[in-house]
Symmetry: C2
Subunit: 156 residues, 2 copies
């Protein structure tokens, strides 16, 4: 991606995109939770052609059509998120903190060895709540702590 396209994507992400990490309880995972980092762009269904254009430009992720008429372009795999954020970071103005937090979480996640490490990552994920003004998001790390304690995965 050249500088012009990276600057365009940064503007588009600042205006209409979202950087966040979902945490869902899922017992098939070692620490009881699935961590899903995501960068999402939203547009009306009528902008499908544009979304496909943006998709080719970014060359990452996939397109999802929601039932409410919104199309999402989702970048969900770690490597793509990392590469995309590194390209747009120099030009981001609004969501720079979210981008840095995401990169920090991806780095910390790699180093998780025990329950305490996992809880530390969960607390970083909580920080998105304030950055994205999402009042609905609960303090996921509190849930994580409960589960880790119940399963005796936290070192005392």
């Amino acid at each position: 991606m050249n500088k012009i396209n990276a600057a365009y994507c940064a503007g588009f992400l600042d205006g209409d995109g979202s950087i966040y990490v979902q945490m869902k309880q899922n017992t098939t995972y070692r620490f009881g939770f699935q961590i899903s980092p995501q960068i999402v762009f939203f547009q009306s269904q009528k902008e499908r052609l544009f979304m496909e254009k943006l998709w080719r430009l970014i060359n990452k992720g996939y397109i999802r059509e929601r039932k409410d008429g919104i199309i999402e372009l989702i970048i969900g795999d770690e490597k793509s998120i990392r590469n995309f954020l590194k390209a747009v970071l120099p030009y981001l103005k609004v969501k720079r903190k979210q981008a840095k937090l995401m990169l920090k979480i991806l780095n910390q996640r790699k180093k998780i060895k025990n329950g305490s490490d996992f809880l530390r990552v969960a607390r970083l994920i909580d920080e998105f709540r304030d950055l994205n003004y999402s009042k609905k998001r609960k303090q996921t790390s509190q849930e994580v702590k409960k589960v880790l304690e119940r399963e005796r995965l936290l070192t005392p």
Copy 2:
């Protein structure tokens, strides 16, 4: 504005901005209507600092705080709109048609000599309705036609 900033602004405008022309009935105007072209960027009030940054970058328009917690950066004067659109047009991907329509309307408006010319511009303004998917907007040109006919400003 350099190319990188222009590309960023294009992305931001595509994601979160709006290009449109308001038409309001106003008897102090020659043809009974005021034409207000506008480019608007929207952000949450918490992004005031960013909006001021964007404002300095664009170096045009003014900032307005709405009662619902949204901040608008509005470019409303013809010369600024024209300069801004010319800078970002090469990089726009979603709102390219709106940008071109706006420039066309600004050009046509300058040449208005009589009621028929005015009605032609009003019909161009109607085209924003489909481009912006604004179902609420009525066919303003029909209103304009009625007023022009009543005031005998249309050549038969």
